[in-house]
C-alpha cells in the first residue's frame, strides 16, 4: 500500500524504492525536508550519479540515507561532516551533501561543523533542527528552547539553545540560511543556492517532531507545530531592528551569509598541482 503511494509521488524517481516506506513518524518534518531536497535536485537538474549524500545517526539522518537514490554513506553519530570531508577530497567534482539532525551535527558533531565551515570545504549541509533528540526518545538537545520540557528536563530546560546558523556563519561558511518546514518554497530555493555555492554551505531547517517534542510542549499535532513556526518566525531583515527581548523565543529566518572565499578542495588541488609540478620538473629531491 505504502509503496503504491510513493510510486505516484512526483519525485519517486529519486527514491530508493526497496527501502520504502520510510521509518519516519507520520507528520514528521523529515518528509518535508526530503521532498524539498528532491525538488531542489530536480530543479537544478543534478544527476544523482553526481551526488554523494552522507548522514550521521538519528531520525533526520535517515531522511536521505538510505531513502535518496544516490551513493549514500550512513556514518557514526556526529561524524558525517568529517566522513564527507574525505569523500569531497576524493571526488572534488561531485556534489557532497550532508543531511542530519541538530543533535548529530551541532551536539556531538559540533566540532566538525565549525571546522568544516572554517576550512570552507565545498559540502552542503542540511541540518534538521527539531529541538530534540528524536530517535533516542526525546532527550534535551543543544537546540532545545530555554524552559522546554523533554524526557531529561522533566521540570524544564535551564540551558540556553545554540544558535546554529549564527555560529556557522561566524565560523566562516560561504552560505548560511535558516527556514522552517512551514517555508517550503524558500527552503527549496535556499537548498538550490547552497548546492550551487562553492564552499561550505548550511541550510538549517527548523522542523517538527510532534512525537518527541511537540507532544510534551503543548503542540501535539504536526499542524500545531507548523502554526507555531509560522507565528514565531521573523525574517532577518526585520529582526535586525528588534531588541533581544522582542526576539526571545523567535525563529529568525532568511539568509545569514552568502559570500565567496577560497574553497578547501580546490585550494588543496591547486597546492598539489604546484608542488607536484615543481618536483616533476626537477625540483630538489626529498632527502
Amino acid at each position: 500500500m505504502a509503496k503504491q503511494i510513493y510510486t505516484k509521488y512526483k519525485m519517486a524517481k529519486y527514491l530508493r524504492k526497496e527501502a520504502l516506506p520510510t521509518a519516519l513518524c507520520p507528520g514528521c518534518g523529515g518528509g518535508t525536508v526530503l521532498n524539498a531536497f528532491a525538488n531542489a535536485i530536480d530543479q537544478l537538474k543534478i544527476d544523482p550519479r553526481d551526488l554523494v549524500v552522507v548522514s550521521g545517526i538519528g531520525c533526520s539522518a535517515w531522511i536521505a540515507s538510505p531513502y535518496f537514490l544516490a551513493d549514500t554513506l550512513h556514518t557514526t553519530h556526529g561524524r558525517a561532516i568529517a566522513f564527507a570531508t574525505g569523500v569531497k577530497v576524493g571526488l572534488p567534482d561531485k556534489k557532497v551533501v550532508v543531511i542530519s539532525g541538530d543533535g548529530d551535527l551541532a551536539g556531538i558533531g559540533g566540532n566538525h561543523l565549525i571546522h568544516a565551515a572554517r576550512r570552507n570545504i565545498d559540502i552542503t549541509v542540511i541540518l534538521v533542527n527539531n529541538f530534540i533528540y528524536g530517535m533516542t526518545g526525546g532527550q534535551v538537545a543543544p537546540t532545545t528552547p530555554f524552559g522546554a520540557i523533554t524526557t531529561t528536563t522533566p521540570y524544564r530546560n535551564i540551558e540556553h539553545p545554540l544558535n546554529i546558523s549564527e555560529t556557522v556563519a561566524s565560523a566562516g561558511a560561504s552560505y548560511v540560511a535558516r527556514w522552517t518546514t512551514f517555508h517550503v518554497y524558500q527552503l527549496i530555493e535556499s537548498i538550490k543556492k547552497a548546492l550551487s555555492v562553492k564552499g561550505f554551505s548550511l541550510v538549517e531547517v527548523v522542523s517538527q517532531c510532534p512525537v518527541q517534542f511537540g507532544r510534551r510542549n503543548k503542540m501535539k499535532t504536526p499542524a500545531e507545530m507548523l502554526r507555531w513556526f509560522s507565528k514565531n518566525s521573523v525574517p532577518l531583515s526585520k529582526a535586525k531592528n528588534m531588541s533581544p527581548e522582542e526576539l526571545e523565543g523567535k525563529i529568525i529566518i532568511g539568509e545569514f551569509v552568502n559570500r565567496e572565499k577560497p574553497e578547501f578542495a580546490e585550494e588543496l588541488n591547486k597546492l598539489i598541482d604546484e608542488v607536484a609540478q615543481h618536483y616533476a620538473l626537477g625540483g630538489e629531491d626529498a632527502d
Partner: protein, 405 residues
C-alpha cells in the same frame, strides 16, 4: 590518485624523488615512506607524540605525488575522513598514538563493519591515559584487537625495526586492500623515534595489491555480498553511478539496513570473521630463530623482539638451547605454530613492554605443563639483552634442576 594502471608514472616519480639506496631515518619516517610506496595518497590525522613525524613526512611528501594531506580537528574526524576517502578509491591512512587510538575506536568499528580498506598506525606509547607521553610501550595489544565494541575480526601487524617498518607498512596496505578490512600497524614510540639505516628499494620491487572492484552492474548491486565465493565482496566505489548505500548498521548484501532479522546480523558478522579465518595463512607472518631444538622458547614482538634475539644468541653461546618466534602479524595470532613449538619447550618466556598482554594469547595455545613466564618492563625504557638473558639463564637453571629430580 594512484589507481591500477597509474603505476608506470608513479614508478618514475618515486624513483626520481626517492632513489634506491641507503637512507638514515626514523621508524616514523619509514612508515610514511612505506605508505607512499604502497600507493597511499590520502592522509588525515591529528598530531600526537610519538606519531607526529608520520604526519609531518606525509604533509611534505604527499603533494609531490599528487596525494592529499589533511590535518583534521581531532582523531575521530581523522579516521572518519580516511573512511570517506577510501570509498572514493584512494588508498588512505591515519596515524596516532594511545589517546588518539582510543578516540578512533568507534570509527574503527565502522570501518570493520563496512569493510573499508585503510591503514591505521598506532605508534604505541606509555599509558594509561596521557601516561608518559614521549615514551614507547607495547600496551595496546588488546586495544587493537578488542578496542571497538562487538564481535569482529581485525588484522594487526607489528614491525621490529626501522627497515621492517617500511616493509610492514606496505604489507598492511596490501592486506587491507585484498581483504577489505582496516589493518592496524602496531608500531611503538621507541622504533618510531630510533634512527637507523634502511634501504629504499626500487619501486618495482614493491608488490602492490588493489581492492577488487565489481566487474559489472550486477556485482555492484551487492557491495556486501560474497559474489565470488571467497567471502570478499568487490567494492563499488562512490562516484561511479552505482547508488551504493553504506551503513555501519547491520545490513543485507545489498547494503540496506536490516537490524531486526537475527539471521541477517549472524550472516554478516560471521562472514566478516570467516573472511579472515579462511585466509589466515596468507595474513599470518612470523619469524623464527633457533627454534628447531629450542628447549627455552621465547615469544616476543615489536620493539622487544630485537633484545630477545640478542639474548637468544648469547644464550646459545653459553650452550643453552634457546629459540625465538616473533609474530609479525599479531592478530590473527599465530597460535598454531606456537603450539607446535611448545611441544619441545621446557619453558616459554614472553618478553614485552607491558605487564603481560601477548602472553595471554600465548597461554591460550600451550600446554598447562609448560611454565609460561612473562619478562615485562614498563616505564618507557626498552628491555635489554642482559635482562632477557638473565631470565633465560635462570629458566635453564630451573629446568636442569627439574630434570635432575
Amino acid at each position: 590518485m594512484i589507481i591500477r594502471g597509474d603505476e608506470p608514472e608513479q614508478i618514475g616519480l618515486l624513483r626520481k624523488l626517492y632513489p634506491e639506496g641507503n637512507y638514515f631515518m626514523q621508524g616514523d619516517e619509514a612508515i610514511a615512506y612505506g605508505a607512499l610506496f604502497a600507493g597511499c595518497r590520502f592522509y588525515a590525522g591529528y598530531p600526537i607524540t610519538p606519531a607526529s613525524e608520520i604526519a609531518e613526512t606525509m604533509a611534505r611528501e604527499l603533494p609531490k605525488l599528487k596525494g592529499y594531506y589533511i590535518q583534521m580537528e581531532d582523531e575521530i574526524g581523522s579516521l572518519a575522513a580516511v573512511v570517506g576517502a577510501s570509498w572514493t578509491g584512494l588508498k588512505s591512512m591515519t596515524a596516532t598514538s594511545g589517546p588518539g587510538f582510543s578516540l578512533m575506536q568507534e570509527n574503527l568499528g565502522y570501518a570493520i563493519m563496512t569493510e573499508t580498506p585503510l591503514v591505521l598506525v598506532d605508534v604505541q606509547r606509555s599509558g594509561p591515559s596521557t601516561g608518559q607521553a614521549t615514551k614507547g610501550a607495547q600496551g595496546d595489544f588488546f586495544q587493537a584487537r578488542w578496542g571497538t565494541h562487538g564481535d569482529h575480526p581485525i588484522i594487526a601487524i607489528s614491525p621490529t625495526s626501522v627497515e621492517d617498518s617500511f616493509w610492514e607498512t606496505i604489507r598492511a596496505f596490501n592486506l587491507s586492500e585484498k581483504f577489505r578490512i582496516p589493518v592496524i600497524l602496531l608500531a611503538d614510540g621507541i622504533i618510531g623515534h630510533t634512527r637507523e639505516q634502511i634501504r629504499i628499494p626500487d619501486p618495482e620491487e614493491v608488490e602492490l595489491v588493489y581492492r577488487k572492484l565489481p566487474a559489472n552492474e550486477e556485482e555492484a548491486k551487492y557491495p556486501f555480498g560474497d559474489v565470488h565465493g571467497d567471502l570478499i565482496p568487490p567494492m563499488p566505489l562512490f562516484g561511479n553511478g552505482y547508488f551504493t548505500h553504506v551503513t555501519g548498521s547491520t545490513h543485507k548484501e545489498n547494503g540496506l539496513r536490516d537490524v531486526y532479522t537475527p539471521e541477517v546480523h549472524d550472516r554478516l558478522v560471521r562472514r566478516l570473521h570467516k573472511k579472515i579465518e579462511v585466509h589466515e595463512k596468507e595474513i599470518q607472518k612470523w619469524e623464527e630463530y633457533y627454534t628447531d631444538d629450542a628447549e627455552i622458547l621465547l615469544v616476543s614482538w615489536g620493539v622487544s623482539a630485537r633484545p630477545s634475539l640478542g639474548a637468544v644468541i648469547e644464550a646459545r653461546k653459553r650452550g643453552i638451547k634457546a629459540g625465538l618466534i616473533v609474530p609479525k602479524t599479531v592478530h590473527p595470532f599465530p597460535g598454531k605454530r606456537i603450539k607446535e613449538l611448545s611441544k619441545n619447550a621446557h619453558v616459554i618466556l614472553v618478553p614485552e613492554m607491558n605487564l603481560g598482554q601477548m602472553i595471554l594469547e600465548v597461554q591460550r595455545f600451550v600446554r598447562d605443563e609448560v611454565p609460561l613466564i612473562g619478562v615485562n618492563k614498563i616505564g618507557g625504557v626498552p628491555l635489554t639483552v642482559e635482562e632477557i638473558l638473565k631470565e633465560i639463564e635462570s629458566s635453564a637453571e630451573r629446568s636442569r634442576h627439574r630434570s635432575a629430580d
